[in-house]
Structure formats: C-alpha cells, structure tokens
C-alpha cells in the first residue's frame, strides 16, 4: 500500500505521522513517502508564530471546534514532558485586547486559567478597554517540523523534493492513497475557488523580556489585521498583516512600518529590540477546512485522495485534530479495501 503525502508543512507531516503511528503495525505493507517542493524552513508553517488560539468566532464547521480542542489537549499532554522544548512546545500566557466588551469565546475552557482583564491590567494598554488573560501553548513551526521529520525518518518514511504537477502523475507513479496537504497551493492540483491566500508578514525580534503574548482585535478590520506580539522560544514575532488575495511572497516596506508602529505603540519596550528576521507567508484561507475523501478516476487507477488543506491562520492550532480525522478517513479506505488484518486501532 503506497501512500504519498503531498506537502511538508505542519499539516502534511503531522498527518503523515498520525497515519503511520496508527496503521503501520496493522499494515506491514505501508510504504509512505512525502513529496514537497518546499521543506522547513521554507514552508508557511515556518513563518507562523505558533500560538494555539482559534479564531474568536465559532467555525462554520462545528467539527473544527473539536479538532482545535483535540490539538490543544494533545499538545498540553506533551508540554509537561522532558523533551517539550525539543518538540518546539511551551506554555505561554497573555492578553487578548478589544475596544469594547465581547462575549467569552467558545474555547475559554480549553485554554487554562481564562479570565477577563481587571482595570489594572488594562492600565497597561491605554488604547483598549476590554480583554482576556489566559494560558495557552506555542508550537514553534520550525522546531516542530524538524521534530516531525525526525520521527518520520525514524519510521522509514522517505522524503522527496519535487513539484507535483498533478494527482494523475502521482497516481500513475503507483500511489494507492494520496494525502493532499498542499495548503495555499492546492488550487494548482485541483481548482478550488474557495481557497485564497491570506498574506501575512511578520518581524522577528530579539526581546527576551517579553514573556506574554499580546493580541489586539479590531472587528472592523478583521482577524490578524491588528497588531499582535507573540513570544517564541528564541525570538518574538510581531505581526498584524492579513491581505486576502495577495500572492506576493516578498516583504513589503509599508507592511513593515504598519507592524512596527502598531506593535511599538502597543508595547513601547520593543523600540529598542533588535530585528533578527522578517518573513512573509501565505495563509491558506478557506471558509472551512477541506478535509474529505475523493476517489480519482484515471484510466484503470483506483486512487483515493484525502484532502486536508485550507487551515487559514489556525493550522498549528488545529493540526492534530485534522490529522486524527484524516487518519480515520484512511482507516475507512483500508476497511473498504479489506486490507486490515486486525481490527482498526481505536482512535
């Protein structure tokens, strides 16, 4: 059984690992490979700040709320282990700031220690009049991808750098199942008018005194268009850019100024911080994640595709729940083809 995962961002690699962990033992013939034209540190995952926080509003697909929760619980169970830093995981607390009171989010009980801000808290942020404090997780894209790569390599999964031009090409190459984790570029394999880039630019600074995330919200502007500051393991990510439909992967000076001015206004201590990197990424924006099976028909081939793309700006936040779901779909494929020697493992 040859499985080809297309895409080596967090979705591709975590889905690969999830499936391999669950099915390799019951499917000895499992031969899994990862095809991608970009690997860490050149994926969009590498640009993400990595804070586990879903969007404020409830997702269109209620399953996504479950997948967010599953991901948080999974990462939380790993953050207390000795190798947490090696995985790229850390607990981090911080502030969400608003210009007016809003209802608590549906994920308030998923994160830890959720509370609304007191007047003294708000004294620190004169431009804002309401907010939340909670403890969440960061999963640093680069380190996590490296860790996933190590786990997959240990398991004998092979990596190939190539630009896949079509599903057909992969099917003709012998793939029985294709896991499509091509993110924002999924449209080049199969047109998807619902998928668009949500261009983001971030500045990474050296500001090790920043121990909290600070995320501001401006409902008029929309998500990620308001300044945010997210500490990572080594550097702090400054952001606040979200441009729908912009495919440019080049840093833009106006965006730099927007980020810098917005974040320094929010946190004056950043003025003296040294800039260590500036990056642009394309969030794979879609009204909801495409996570479903599709049977391809090329001549005599009987290739299944499991699509897993369109995670917007919350890929790291939701990745494991989606990987579990993709693994379930994979299990169904195996059942249908009567390939399982033993009952499928309990997911």
């Amino acid at each position: 059984m040859r499985v080809v995962v297309i895409g080596a961002g967090v979705i591709g690699l975590s889905t690969a690992l999830c499936i391999h962990e669950r099915y390799r033992s019951v499917l000895p013939s499992l031969d899994m490979r990862v095809y991608a034209d970009r690997f860490t540190p050149l994926t969009n995952t590498d640009v993400a700040a990595g804070l586990c926080q879903p969007y404020l509003s409830d997702p269109r697909n209620p399953q996504e709320a479950d997948w967010n929760q599953q991901t948080f619980d999974y990462l939380l169970s790993r953050v207390h282990s000795p190798n947490a830093a090696n995985v790229g995981l850390a607990l981090v607390s911080g502030y969400n700031l608003f210009h007016e009171a809003i209802p608590d989010p549906s994920w308030k009980n998923t994160v830890l220690g959720f509370r609304t801000l007191t007047p003294r808290d708000l004294d620190m942020f004169p431009d804002y009049s309401y907010g939340w404090f909670n403890t969440s997780l960061i999963v640093e894209g680069r380190r996590y991808l490296q860790w996933l790569t190590e786990r997959l390599t240990e398991r004998g999964v092979k990596f190939f750098q190539k630009k896949v031009e079509s599903f057909e090409e992969v099917a003709r190459g012998g793939a029985d199942v294709i896991i499509n984790c091509t993110g924002v570029w999924a449209g080049s394999l199969q047109p998807d008018p619902l998928l668009q880039p949500g261009r983001g630019q971030i500045i990474k600074v050296d500001a090790p005194w920043m121990k909290h995330f600070i995320i501001t919200h401006d409902p008029e502007k929309g998500i990620y268009k308001s300044p945010y500051i997210i500490p990572g393991i080594q550097a702090v990510t400054l952001g606040g850019i979200f441009q729908l439909g912009n495919w440019s992967e080049v840093n833009n000076i106006q965006d730099h100024n927007t980020i810098w001015e917005g974040c320094c206004r929010l946190e004056p201590t950043l003025q003296d911080a040294k800039i260590v990197a500036e990056l642009t990424g394309l969030r794979p924006v879609r009204p909801q994640i495409r996570l479903e099976r599709e049977r391809l028909r090329f001549a005599s081939s009987n290739t299944e595709v499991i699509h897993n793309y369109g995670h917007g700006g919350y890929g790291l936040t939701i990745h494991w729940g989606c990987a579990l779901e993709a693994a379930k779909l994979f299990g169904k494929i195996l059942e249908e083809r009567k390939l399982l020697k033993m009952p499928p493992p309990h997911l």
Binding site: H80, A85, L91
Partner: protein, 375 residues
C-alpha cells in the same frame, strides 16, 4: 524614630565665623550656610543605589557620594532573581510591609511599561505559586498588589501532581545586573559621585561627610557592629531554557524557577550562618532535580552556571533607624538601612523612600538655635 540629639547640649567650641569644623555642629553650620549637605551612601547593591536615588530626589541641596567595595555584577543583589514576591519581617507590621511592597511594585511597574524597561531589566512575568498542602492563609496580604491574583484551577494544577493548591498571578522581575547599572547611570546623571572603596569603619567618613547612610547589608555586621546580622546562604543555578515563560515557586520558597531576560534562575537554598561563597556541586544537583520535578522540560536546559549569594539576614527585620554616633567629641549622624534578608528587591523602593525621609529629617535645620559669635 529620630534621635533627640538635637536636644542635647552642644559641646565643643563653636565659631561660625571661624568656620571651625566640629563634627555635628559643623553639619548644622553648613546647613545655615548655603553649602550642600554632604551625604555618603555606603553600599551599592539595590538598597544603596535606590536609597541614593530617593535621597537625591527628596533632600534639597545635598551632594551624594555612593561608596562601595563592590558594584554590579558583584553585589549580593546580582545573584538574586529579583521576583517581586514579598517576605514577611517579624517586627514589621503587615500594613507597613504592604506599603513598602506596593511602592516598589508601582515604581517598577511604571518602568516596565516604559521604553526604559529593557535597559532597566524590569519586566512582567506570570506564573504559579504551588503548595503541597493547603496553606493557612489562602490569600496573602499582597494579593491585590500583584496583577490578576487568583487561585489556580484544577486544570492548571494538573501540571503539578504533587501539589494540591496554588496561586496564579502576574508580577514583576527586577534584574539587578541591569537595574543596578541603570540606577548608577541615572545617579551619575544627577551629579551623584560613585567611589570604589572598602570602608572598614564608618568614622572613616568623618569629617568629609555630614550624614552617612549605611546600606552595607551583611557588611553591617562589622560597620554597624550588629552581631545579629548573619548570612542566609542561597545557591542558585542560572540556566538557558528560553522556552520557560512562567515562574513556578513552591510555597515553601525553597524551590523556584524564575525565567528572566537572559537566563532562567533555578533555586534554591536557605543555609543559616553559612558564609561559603563557593558553589557546592551536591547542592546544585539537588536544585536541578527539584526544579525538573516541577518543570520536566528543564532537562533540556544547558549552559548551567552556579551562583551563591549571602542574604543579609537580620532576625528583627529591616533596620531603618537614625543613629548619632559620638566619639571623642565628634558626631556623625548615620541612617541605617539594612537587613532585608530574602526580600530586599521586593521592598527596596518603599524602604528607600523611608530611609530618604530619615535622611531628610536628619539634615533639617536644628530646632535649638546655636549661639552666634559677635563679630
């Protein structure tokens, strides 16, 4: 608390016109002349430098010299993590302690929210204080001084299987290796002189200075002949573990993890009467093991450095008192400001303000007029 020395008969010859330098009297004759009062602050740890700062703001027309044999990074303060969590002093009423803590917190909070924060080494940090059994006092006196104080939820306590209760809050970390040089720079900017010299006896400062402020910490055992002072030895590990963003403190105060700007400080010990400044390897292993039990990810920590500090412990608590030294007809007013033990950084600004008030009272014009000579 001010001594009634002013009411004592003046001794020695006085002659304003002749400008005879006669210790105590000379101090006051200098006041009546427009010459600035010469103040020596002994000690350049957090207590010495902050006191010099407060005196410079509170006392008009004075010239201040900070004198110390040790400066940052070699002071006791430099070893301390600098977490704003106050300690209780037995003879200090809680309202006073709370006031000192609040004044310190407010002072540092303003710095933390300004562009100076990075230079001054002051930043906010959130975390948990955890207990293996429910403490007698579930809400400490300082709960409303720190930010967002609340009890930990069950979900939060899951991280600490050996502990049953905890506090979650946000407080400040004041890092002396940055804070002290920052204070020093400010002091120099306002004309304060900084002198490196070891003082063996406070009388060495006479007659060059009119008032001495004794912030010598453990050195007061000798300088103030305070035999009650003793070291409370603390050993810590400075490690690289930048993924640790929260403080964790065991309620006993013996085990703690304090993440800072350039390292994470793991502690600690409280060894009474131990003067040994050399780190002990066995103790280091113990500290590391205790901290890893609370935060397993520390096993990935690297670049581990051992440090030792001798907390200036005084059983009666902080000594904030004016003493008029007298010897062979000489007089020297001394404002004592030492004995902060484990809690120096947490209350330093509040006690420095108090010390500055004592200095101010000390230099005020005397109530009893001195006889004028007929010219």
């Amino acid at each position: 608390m001010v001594s009634t020395a002013l009411d004592q008969p003046l001794t020695g010859k006085t002659s304003v016109g002749a400008r005879a330098f006669c210790g105590f009297q000379d101090c006051f004759s200098r006041l009546r002349s427009m010459d600035p009062v010469r103040i020596a602050v002994v000690g350049a740890g957090v207590v010495g430098l902050s006191t010099a700062m407060c005196v410079s703001k509170l006392v008009p027309r004075c010239s201040i010299t900070v004198i110390s044999d040790k400066f940052s990074p070699d002071t006791t303060s430099d070893v301390a993590a600098g977490m704003l969590i106050p300690h209780v002093y037995p003879n200090t009423p809680i309202p006073t302690l709370k006031q000192w803590f609040r004044e310190t917190f407010d002072h540092l909070f303003a710095i933390a929210n300004s562009a100076e924060a990075g230079d001054a080494g002051v930043h906010l940090v959130s975390g948990w204080q955890i207990f293996q059994s429910i403490p007698a006092e579930e809400v400490p006196f300082w709960a409303d001084v720190v930010l967002g104080f609340r009890k930990m939820t069950k979900a939060e306590l899951k991280k600490f299987p050996q502990h049953v209760f905890g506090h979650a809050f946000t407080t400040l970390k004041c890092e002396s290796p940055a804070y002290l040089p920052w204070l020093e720079k400010r002091l120099k900017g306002s004309g304060v002189l900084i002198l490196t010299r070891r003082i063996g006896d406070l009388w060495e400062l006479h007659p060059s200075f009119d008032v001495v402020v004794n912030c010598s910490g453990l050195g007061s055992r000798q300088l103030a002949q305070d035999s009650e002072m003793f070291p409370m030895r603390g050993q810590v590990l400075n490690v690289q573990a930048p993924w640790v963003k929260h403080f964790i403190r065991d309620g006993s105060g013996l085990t703690y993890i304090y993440p800072g700007t350039s390292n994470v400080i793991l502690g600690g010990t409280r060894q009474q009467g131990d003067w040994n400044l050399s780190p002990d390897a066995e103790i280091s292993r113990g500290i590391f093991s205790r901290c890893c039990a609370l935060e397993p990810s520390l096993q990935g920590a690297c670049d581990i450095r051992e440090k030792v500090g001798l907390r200036p412990f005084r059983p009666a608590g902080v000594r904030l008192q004016t003493e008029f030294l007298a010897q062979d007809g000489r007089r020297l007013p001394v404002v004592h400001h030492y004995g902060h033990g484990s809690g120096g950084i947490s209350v330093h600004w509040g006690t420095a303000l108090e010390a500055a008030r004592l200095v101010s009272e000390c230099v005020q014009a005397p109530r009893t007029p001195t006889p004028k000579s007929n010219l």
